[in-house]
Amino acid sequence: MLRRVSTTVSLLAAAVLALAGCTPAEPAGAKTIKVAYQKTDSFTALDTVFQDAKKEFEAANQGVTVELQPIQANDDDYGTKLALALRSPSTAPDVFYEDTFKVRSDVDAGYLLNLDSRLKAWEDWGKFDAGAKEAGKADDGGTYAVPLGTDTRTIWYNKKVFEAAGIGLPWRPASWQDILDTARKIKASNPAVIPFNMYAGKGTGEGTVMQGFYELLYGTGAGLYDQDSKKWVVGSAGFKDSLTFLQTLYRENLAVAPADALDPNVWKKVFGDWFPQAKLGATVEGSYAPSFWQKGGNYEWPAYAQDMGVSPFPTQNGGAPGAVSMSGGWTLAVGSETKQPDLAFKFLTTALNEKNSLSFTVASSQIAVRTDVAADPGYQSANPFVKDVSSLVAVTRYRPATSDYPRISAAIQEATEAVITGTKTPEQAAGDYDTAVAGIVGGDKTIRK
């Protein structure tokens, strides 16, 4: 009997010891930095950077462990999962990958640590592009996030399709009308080809507005948000004109079928099937497009360098400045609840040093935000389009990233969906958008223009 008791006790003790080994409690002196970021099958560049930075950092800081927490999700779901983790101090990571347009609302939520004093002491900070630094600033003027890279939007077109339709190259449309004329010509020459795609509807989410609607809207002279009065613009002719353009594109079958447009995976067909197989004339997409086609990309296509061309997206009637582009991009931020703010910031600077920035910028076809990276021959020769897409930074726009923004964006996606599916006219859809905006931000925060 006694023996059995002692066996039980020793087993229990062993179990307790084993369990203790699993608990987060660590021997004194050891510290852990948790790093959360996005990783998907088609986006591993960031994972590579963090793996490298972890080795570098752990070698330089004995006793500190970097715990990488890659999150497998698309952009939308990554944002949701990160926000859920940030809600509780016990799950919040110390360093994380943060979308520029979430910075302001996440600062409002108290998730991000103010980096001003630390950045002042970081010698590399002076090498960051002044425009890009804006992306990490919150409403209080403080900087809370450091940019990894930025992007622009442009028209990508397949030269083979254009040549077959007898269109002169290089192609550079001067107005919306030019786009429609060209698209109709392509349609007439080969009805099996999709002439000119622009994303629309809720399926493609933020892609609908970033690579589509905003290129139209900002080229009409109308905007989304009036920076001076800090109010949202409603009732503009530009909004209706933009919807009308999409309606024309979809009704004349110049874009993809509406059912395809609403498929969240349509972009995979654009990059993976239609462009390489010369079934698509042109699409509005991000400067990162070559990252899919270059060696190691998800849809390797060596011929893209010769077969593809780029053109800036024109303004409605060719008015100044002649082109429209949108920029977003991602940053690294430090959690406000971190227990080791200094170590966390140090890891951030390791991940964003010149070497790591260069390899990330090239691998993911980003536009460099560090001047030393931008000047590097490795960056400039990364793909044949670096110069074209980087030049668009001069005309680019950023989203009004307030806390209300995700709902406004959804209301626009809904308006485009209603128009391309033919359930509403552009006037009705624009009217519904105005009502929705007033409902979201309150009538006193809207302005008729």
Binding site: A83, R87, K102, A109, G201, K202, P258, P406, A410, A418
Partner: protein
Amino acid sequence: MARHHHRRQLARYLPVLLAVLLLAVFLAGPVLWAFQASLTNAGLTGRHARNPEWVGLENYQRLLQDPVFPLSLALTVLFVAGSAVLGQNILGLALAVLMRRARPAVSATVGTAVVAAWVLPEIVAAFAAYAFFSRDGTLNQLFGGLGFAEIDWLYAVPMVAVILANMWRGTAFSMLVYRAALGGVPAELTEAAHMDGAGAWQRLVFITLPVIRGSIATNLMLVTLQTLAVFTLIWVMTAGGPANGSSTLPVMAYQEAFKFGDIGYGTAVASVLILIGAVFGAAYLRLLREQKP
């Protein structure tokens, strides 16, 4: 002796106590949390993320003015009525009745085929249904082979597609319930009716159905509650689109809470869903109680 008896009584109630405790922690807890959150402006991000304010019934007032809400409500009712109350329930009963008469081999084959859909994890079933109904999917290939025009199911008739998919997925449950219930119908009752000259249809309506009434009510309650909560299937197949054409209440609640970061409003939608479930549950319970003599 009395104390001993007392202790045995307590021991007898222990499982009940545990069950109540489990229910309280895992069911009532989240329900109360959801309801409490629906009275605040809690958000996923922004100033209300960490310090939500009490807003009373504001979210519910907003719900009444939201044009998507009546649509979502109607679609939810349509989905439950179409795929569960009519679809799964009647199809399950029909299969159970027919299988009693079929040869054992036929009956086993049909049973396996139906149950296969039921045992698939929801996400797998959802992808299978997506592949079946999508434009280049199996259904259109069948249709095309028969010379019919192809229909873009998920786009043109999203509700039909998700209702059929949920029927396919859930019918097995009803079938199993009814097979067991039919097995319990006394043979001498139906035989007597047969002697009296009642046809097969009359025997079903006047003998079998009244006898298994309790099982019908139980089954209806379970499939209704299960179907009210279906999310993955719809999300994978149509994501609630096009133009909110298949956005049932669970889809709407998810969109509001996690896509727009409005947790307060999303939980208000979820609370309405819980309320609907409770109303259905109460109605079926009444039905169950009435049939007892």
